[in-house]
């Protein structure tokens, strides 16, 4: 029973809520899917409701929405130029999704969507897919100039191009692994410290007195996780902007 409670991995288990099976594929509605829907619902409801009044002098909640808007648009303008603003809806949706998913994951008993690598990798693949499709659509084969840096001697060119290609392919990997590893590690640490509290307080009066330490640690870690949740959403969005910049302006 006690060991069951302390298991720090248990929070990441996927549970099928509504089993759906179409054509041999398992398309069940899981707790992960439920929290993705919840994330989208919370993000859209928040943005819609807070900006519904459209007052010229924003109230508190409206200024939160406007700050998020300004934040992302400045980020995009700084790294991809004014042309990048056509990707604003894309980047803003990604940012809000990751941010709200991270924040929702901080609630006790909630499932953290971004702690599964397949989810973060899906998001990163979407970003890189957009970059590649838009890059080829806009520049045609000129997009391949991305992989050929200027001023490299001809005999080194094949090697450099190979390395550049690998470096490009490693981008979605590092993008997704960073978000996933941060969320996973943070939540496991949080769970382990909370587990200490439970197992120490089972030891009687001395244990209960001693369990104050891990409890304080868990509180501090929660604050740190709040920071990490925001920071990772920010990093994800910034890197998305930088990659989009490559699609907009390859090779100059």
């Amino acid at each position: 029973m006690a060991a069951d409670k302390v298991d720090p991995i248990h929070q990441f288990h996927i549970v099928k809520l509504i089993p759906i099976n179409i054509g041999g594929y398992d398309l069940s509605f899981t707790n992960s899917a439920l929290f993705m829907v919840a994330t989208v619902a919370v993000a859209s409801a928040f943005l819609y409701l807070t900006t519904a009044s459209r007052s010229l002098v924003p109230g508190r909640l409206q200024s939160v929405s406007e700050m998020a808007y300004e934040f992302v648009s400045n980020m995009l303008r700084d790294s991809a130029g004014t042309q990048g603003l056509k990707f604003f809806p894309f980047v803003f949706s990604l940012f809000m999704f990751v941010l709200v998913a991270n924040l929702l994951g901080l609630f006790p008993y909630f499932f953290t969507v971004t702690s599964h690598i397949i989810v973060t990798f899906g998001l990163a693949a979407l970003v890189i897919g957009t970059v590649v499709v838009y890059g080829f659509g806009k520049h045609g084969l000129g997009f391949l100039k991305l992989f050929v840096p200027h001023g490299v001697p001809v005999f080194l060119l094949p090697l450099v191009v190979l390395i550049e290609v690998i470096s490009f392919v490693s981008r979605p990997v590092s993008l997704s692994v960073r978000l996933f590893a941060n969320m996973l590690a943070g939540h496991i640490t949080l769970k382990v410290f909370s587990g200490f509290v439970v197992s120490l307080s089972a030891l009687g009066a001395v244990g209960i007195a001693g369990s104050v330490l891990p409890l304080a640690m868990a509180v501090a870690l929660t604050a740190l996780e709040l920071l990490v949740a925001f920071l990772q959403a920010y990093v994800f969005a910034v890197l998305t902007c930088m990659y989009l910049n490559d699609a907009l302006h390859p090779g100059h």
């Binding site: 300004e70 934040f71 400045n74 980020m75 700084d78 100039k145 991305l146 992989f147 050929v148 840096p149 200027h150 001023g151 490299v152 080194l156 090697l159 450099v160 190979l162 390395i163 550049e164 690998i166 470096s167 490009f168 392919v169 490693s170 981008r171 990997v173 590092s174 692994v177 960073r178 590893a181 941060n182 920071l227 920071l231 920010y234 990093v235 930088m242 910049n245 490559d246 390859p250 090779g251 100059h252």
Partner: protein, 130 residues
């Protein structure tokens, strides 16, 4: 701000007398530029959140650099291993893939540390061990 309405040649600036033709395209363009310029002066001081984010993150920076490096190696090994599987030239694909992946990892680190130009933008991003 009478001058933003543009001279209409009559010397009058009243709103009532202003005809539609007076709001010419270049006038609009100029006002848009003015707005853009005045917005631009306000923008930098709105970015303070970014500096805050930077200040907290020696740890984040280290994590970012190491994940960039490891991602390069992982991708290189994966590509090499797949080539091995497809072409049946084991172990050479893995060896070459790992070395190239190492180069790409170092390149990633240099790039995110800002020492090498970004993708496709001049400079000679050769890594030192070549």
């Amino acid at each position: 701000m009478a001058d933003t309405n543009g001279p209409d040649g009559t010397g009058e600036t009243g709103r009532g007398r202003q005809r539609e033709a007076d709001i010419r395209d270049d006038d609009l363009e100029r006002r848009r530029r003015d707005l853009e310029a005045s917005l631009a002066t306000r923008r930098p001081d709105r970015l303070e959140g970014k500096d805050d984010a930077k200040a907290v993150t020696g740890y984040g920076q280290a994590l970012k650099l190491s994940s960039e490096f490891i991602a390069g190696i992982v991708v290189g090994v994966a590509i090499g291993w797949i080539i091995d599987r497809l072409a049946g030239i084991s172990p050479w694909g893995l060896i070459v893939g790992l070395l190239l992946g190492f180069g790409a990892g170092v390149l990633n680190v240099l790039r995110s540390a800002g020492l090498v130009a970004q993708f496709g933008q001049g400079g000679t991003p050769r890594d030192p061990e070549e």
